[in-house]
């Protein structure tokens, strides 16, 4: 069962002079097991949208359901794990162990069960057991980000919803976090991420949702998105598009350096044959 949003509208500060519409007529379906990227400029409504998935915000009209359940239900809080921007700011415990065990303990799982989940979550983000007794604040940016991920994973969520999970990390930390997310997705968790980092996330994404001024203006597969060229593209894909617009026979869906290299070399030999 997926996350389904139907005709959803939402405004902040309703019925005050400061009323600001944030989401307009949103229709969205997130299937289980997908890796979905939500793109859009600042203020497009991306972060607002994700907060509807686990009932942190409630729509003014329309409907939201998660696996057929209302997002305000307790079960949905467990089903949908969420990390906000600068997840490291959400860490607050004295040790990494306490941090990851916090969720399961609050849900009333037994000590043994909690322990098992802590170790499983730690493994999922490839952190060593020796960090368990360390303070989360003594870790590197990439490690802190992964501890935050692990603490969400300890509840074994069906959906992991993330807001800019690699912003502010150095390239090493970015790669570590992206690899962890890739594995999490491979193990069957649906991952939905709001991001500006096209270069980092593009290889992982299966579906793209593009937002503009509170509306969804595009949703489709990664290839359809590249083909449509309606929103921001990773640098290599923009190059392909530019080349295509200039009449070179290249595939605009190439977005990796390797694919682009092949496309350009192919275009070159096609060109040489012609002349």
């Amino acid at each position: 069962m997926p996350i389904i949003l139907k005709n959803v509208n939402f405004a902040y500060a309703k019925k005050t002079p400061l009323e600001t519409p944030a989401l307009r007529d949103i229709n969205l379906r997130i299937e289980k097991g997908e890796f979905v990227g939500i793109f859009g400029e600042k203020g497009a409504g991306k972060s607002t949208l994700m907060k509807l998935f686990n009932g942190l915000l409630r729509q003014d009209s329309g409907s939201v359901s998660v696996d057929g359940l209302d997002p305000s239900s307790r079960e949905v809080k467990r089903k949908v794990g969420m990390l906000f921007q600068q997840a490291a700011d959400q860490l607050f415990c004295r040790t990494v162990h306490e941090e990851i065990a916090f969720g399961p303990t609050n849900f009333g799982f037994s000590k043994e069960e909690t322990e098992e989940r802590v170790l499983e979550a730690l493994k999922a983000v490839s952190l060593d057991r020796e960090v368990l007794l360390r303070s989360p604040f003594s870790l590197s940016g990439g490690e802190m980000q992964r501890v935050a991920l692990a603490s969400a994973l300890a509840l074994r969520p069906d959906y992991l919803v993330l807001d800019e999970p690699i912003t502010g990390l150095d390239p090493g930390g970015k790669t570590e976090t992206l690899e962890a997310l890739k594995r999490i997705r491979e193990q069957g968790t649906t991952v939905v991420t709001v991001t500006h980092n096209l270069k980092g996330f593009f290889p992982l994404l299966e579906r793209v949702v593009l937002m503009q001024e509170g509306r969804i203006v595009f949703q489709g597969s990664r290839e359809e998105y590249l083909e449509a060229g309606c929103g921001p593209l990773p640098p290599v894909a923009s190059l392909m598009r530019e080349l295509k617009n200039r009449g070179l026979p290249v595939n605009p869906a190439a977005f990796t350096v390797k694919a682009a290299l092949e496309e350009i070399l192919k275009a070159k030999s096609a060109f040489e044959e012609k002349t």
Partner: protein
């Protein structure tokens, strides 16, 4: 402009953050500093106007030693720093007040402060926000306010520590353009980042690792050496240009700056053959 001689520094109780750094920053230069988290680049930046002072060695700004407390006001007038998170840098209730804070501390006359604040507001396009609280601005506007707050002090050298890392790409590009504009006005720019894409305009780049400078050079030369360095991701267009070169397609460095210029160059090369 700034000279670091055998500078070492450790945070209290921590591992050494800087190990025997020697560096000379020239007047009017745009120097890029890259390195992973924890490589010491921010610690280095904090030494440039005496916010941190070296444990060993010395830092001089136009000959003024940062260990000399009496000289710190002069040094801070010369070198201003802008940090990563704009919100932690605001002191005023309004943008205007925030911009006046620096010059007030330099004990300038109210008339002079007025002139400077108005000029910087105009230059940075912040006039329409002058009576807003800086906390209500967007990330890009906020970072621009933080930069403006340093500009009112009229420093000769500006140090930027990961100023775009929390901004969306559009606002990041706008802030970067503004910084490149300052360089054209003759200011010395020190730009700390882990995004190599932002250093296209730099005159010189240094790479830091474990508190040491491990490489140094013009971005063009340096980046062609870097592939394979796991801690520093090469911009994809630069990587593509390097791989094309191996196949006899030479896209010059300046053309790797944007997809448009890159595509133009490819088409030009193809139509020539």
């Amino acid at each position: 402009m700034i000279r670091l001689e055998n500078v070492s520094y450790s945070y209290p109780g921590g591992t050494p953050a800087l190990r025997n750094i020697n560096l000379e920053i020239e007047e009017g230069e745009f120097l890029g500093i890259i390195g992973r988290n924890g490589s010491g680049k921010s610690t280095l930046a904090l030494h440039l106007n005496g916010l941190l002072r070296p444990e060993k060695g010395k830092v001089t700004v136009r000959g003024l030693d940062t260990r000399d407390f009496a000289r710190l006001p002069e040094i801070r007038k010369l070198v201003g720093i802008v940090f990563q998170n704009p919100e932690t840098q605001f002191v005023g209730r309004t943008v205007e007040e925030d911009l006046a804070f620096g010059p007030e501390n330099l004990c300038l006359s109210p008339a002079e402060i007025r002139v400077r604040v108005d000029r910087v507001l105009a230059e940075t396009g912040l006039e329409k926000y002058r009576h807003r609280s800086p906390k209500t601005l967007s990330g890009g506007q906020g970072q621009c306010t933080a930069l403006a707050g340093v500009l009112t002090m009229e420093p000769e050298c500006l140090v930027f520590d990961e100023v775009t890392s929390m901004l969306d790409p559009g606002s990041g590009t706008a802030v970067l353009k503004r910084i490149e504009g300052l360089r054209e006005k003759g200011k010395t720019i020190v730009y700390v980042t882990h995004n190599l894409e932002e250093l296209h305009a730099a005159d010189r780049v240094i790479v830091m690792e474990q508190g040491k400078i491990v490489r140094e050079g013009q971005p063009e030369k340096l980046f062609s050496d870097l592939p394979g360095d796991p801690g520093l991701a090469l911009p994809s267009l630069i990587e593509l240009a390097a791989q094309l070169r191996a196949h006899g397609i030479h896209v010059p460095w300046e053309k790797t700056r944007s997809p448009e210029t890159f595509a133009e160059e490819i088409c030009r090369l193809f139509s020539k053959t």
